[in-house]
Each structure stands twice: as structure tokens, then as C-alpha cells.
Symmetry: C2
Subunit: 202 residues, 2 copies
DNA sequence: GTCTATATCTCGATAGAC
DNA sequence: GTCTATCGAGATATAGAC
């Protein structure tokens, strides 16, 4: 790796840190340069201006930081106990989206969406990947006759809305909210039960 | 109304406009004062500093802008067709939360939640009011024997998650997203049907 | 490509007159 | 209470040397 590439990587890392901690307007190019141990003109020569720096760095971070739960989802349809497998899968998903760095990044993107609408597209696109993994699982369960899910994509949105999104929504407005012992498990399993009851075969 | 009160009101309105359009860090007290046609020291004499201005003005706006759907909810339990009444109620709720000013304010609050955690509490509190109206309706339906909803508060969160929150989530990351003809109605009614199937008596 | 140094501007906040 | 005028700090961005 050339010295220039190293500096670019250092700037990227420093910029993510500053943007996440202070927001777009609150982060200064000065501070980013200092944190990356380069001079300010080096930042500008690599990224042009502050807006492009933000878009490049945060957009890349969104894509790279994505946690692919596809392999876990693909086991649901073949599991001996689909309910347990579903709860397990959604539990893992909830764990990921409640991570503090994920939540902070999420709030940053939402807050800057008017200035950077492209980031909303990236976010939606990244999230769709895990949705699709579940869609495949439900299509398989439908085919096997275990469930009656004629519109798997809609069903997936309903299930994740009651579980993953509901948990994330709480922390979106209350970052310090501490879930009680068993509260998250109860939230997930009750959502799964509503879902399975509604989409039961017969 | 005294001249001082008029100026305070003008500052409040101007501050909401600037904060909503530019975010906390992006809005300047200069611009707020100019928009309110007062001098900067007048702003400071009324609100102390920028942070208190933001908290006071946005907090008040959140509380005042709240749309009380309680009366509409109280009709659900007595309606001849509870399903239709529920769909009607949630459709009105969706309409409110998708309004552009509501969405923009929501993104602003989320983006600044680390700096102003109190606003998250206000938001949660305001939203709980509409939740409680639905809780009352389900408790009544449970008592009547029309539904089997032993935990109405949990059930309300599940229903709103699939309908109101799901619609709002889409627009949160994609402000310009246009719902197709009938897409919102389908989203709401399918959510209601999942809910009613899962919580049917028997 | 990368640096030092700086131009230019705007910010939040306040002193002092009225 | 409200104004004009201004302070000091810190912002983005760039010129010019190497």
C-alpha cells in the first residue's frame, strides 16, 4: 500500500469517527485532518470537499458494515422447529441493529437525509438483503406446506416490523433505554407467534 | 399581547423554521433573528443560548403539533364493523405521521437525540397518548368477547408496528418515496388482517 | 502529493447606549 | 427590553513552496 493510500485510509477512518460523534455540520475538516495525522489540503486533494467526503465515507461504511444474516436465514426452512429457528434468527438480527454503532450511524443518516438522499437509498438497499433471505425461507415453508404465505415479501415486512423494527424504534428515540431481562425475547417471540398464528396453514 | 410577547412568538416561529430546514448546527442565531425581524440580543434575552432555544422551541412544537386521535379510537369498540373501523383509524394515523412537516421534525429530533435526549422522552410521551386510545378500544373489544387480547398494550405495539410505523419507516429513509395507488391501504388492511386473525376469539 | 500558512467568512455570544 | 456594534473562536477552502 502506497503512502497516499495509507493516508486516504486514515482520513476515511478519522472522518467516520468525527461524523458519527458530532454529525455532519458539527464535524470539522480540521479535526478530521488532525485525527488522521495529515494536513488539511491532503483531505481536500483526496475528497474534494466536505460533502463528498461525507458521502463517500459514510456510504462506504454503510455497505461494508452490513451484517449478512442470509446463511442463518437459509436454515429456517429446514429446521425441525421453525418457530424456534425464526426466534433465533430474529434475535440475532435484533442484536445487530441495537448495537450502539449501528444505532448512531442510523440516527446520523436519518438526520442528514435531506442533504444526502443517496444515503437513504444505500440504507434501503443494504437492508433489503436480509429481507430477501427471509423471503426465501418463507417461500420454502410455503412450498413445503408448513405455512400459508402467498405474499412472502409483505409477510416479511410485517414480521420484521413487529420484532426488529419495533425494538430499534424504541432505541431510536431513547438511546439509553435498557430492556428488562427477557423483554426483548418476549417482544420477538410474541411477534413470531402473532405471525405464525395468522399465517398458519388451514 | 405585549410587544415582547409578539417578539418571542416571532422568534419561536422563525427558530422552528430554521431548525427544521437546516438542523441544529446548520441553523444560525443570526438567521433566526433576521427571520423574526429582531436583533440577536433579543433572541438571547428571551432564550439564553442556542441550546435552550432549540429545546424550548422544538419541545413545545412537538407537544402542540400532536394530533389527538383518541375520539376516533373510542368509536372502534362500538362500531358495527370493527375491522373497517380499525382500518379507518389507522389510515388517519398514517396520514398524520406521513405529513412532510411531521416527517421532517421526526428526522430532526432523531438526528439530535444525542445532544438533546429530553426530546426523545417528549416524543415517546406524545406518541403514547394515541397508543393508549387504542389500548382502551382493545380492552373493550376483549371484554365484549369480540377479540381475545389478553395483553392489549403489546397487541397495540404489534398492530401499529405493522401499519403506521412500517409506512413511516419507508419515508424516514426515502423522503421522496411515492406510495402507489392503493399501496398504503393495502399495507394497513393487510396488517389489520394479520392482527385480527392472530387475536380472533377461540 | 503533501506540507505550512493564510485568506475569507460566519459563528455564538456580549458590552454598552437608549 | 431592545438596539448597534463588535469580539474571539473556529469554519471551509486554497495559494504557493517543496
Amino acid at each position: 500500500m502506497s503512502a497516499s493510500e495509507r493516508k486516504r485510509a486514515a482520513i476515511t477512518e478519522a472522518a467516520i469517527g468525527e461524523f458519527v460523534e458530532r454529525g455532519y455540520a458539527g464535524a470539522s475538516v480540521d479535526a478530521i485532518a488532525a485525527r488522521a495525522r495529515v494536513s488539511k489540503p491532503t483531505v481536500y486533494s483526496h475528497f474534494g470537499n466536505k460533502e463528498r467526503l461525507f458521502l463517500t465515507v459514510i456510504g462506504g461504511y454503510l455497505r461494508d458494515g452490513y451484517t449478512d444474516l442470509g446463511p442463518l436465514a437459509d436454515r429456517i426452512a429446514e429446521a425441525p422447529d421453525p418457530r424456534a429457528a425464526l426466534i433465533d434468527f430474529l434475535g440475532s438480527w435484533v442484536e445487530v441493529v441495537l448495537r450502539e454503532d449501528v444505532m448512531t450511524l442510523r440516527r446520523l443518516v436519518i438526520g442528514e437525509i435531506d442533504r444526502f438522499p443517496q444515503l437513504g437509498q444505500v440504507w434501503a438497499q443494504v437492508n433489503a438483503t436480509n429481507d430477501e433471505a427471509l423471503v426465501r425461507a418463507f417461500a420454502a415453508l410455503h412450498k413445503k406446506g408448513a405455512l400459508d404465505v402467498p405474499r412472502p415479501r409483505q409477510a416479511v415486512r410485517q414480521l420484521t416490523a413487529m420484532t426488529v423494527d419495533a425494538a430499534q424504534l424504541i432505541r431510536t428515540f431513547r438511546p439509553a433505554y435498557e430492556f428488562d431481562e427477557g423483554e426483548l425475547e418476549e417482544l420477538v417471540s410474541s411477534g413470531v407467534d402473532v405471525f405464525l398464528t395468522a399465517y398458519a396453514r388451514g
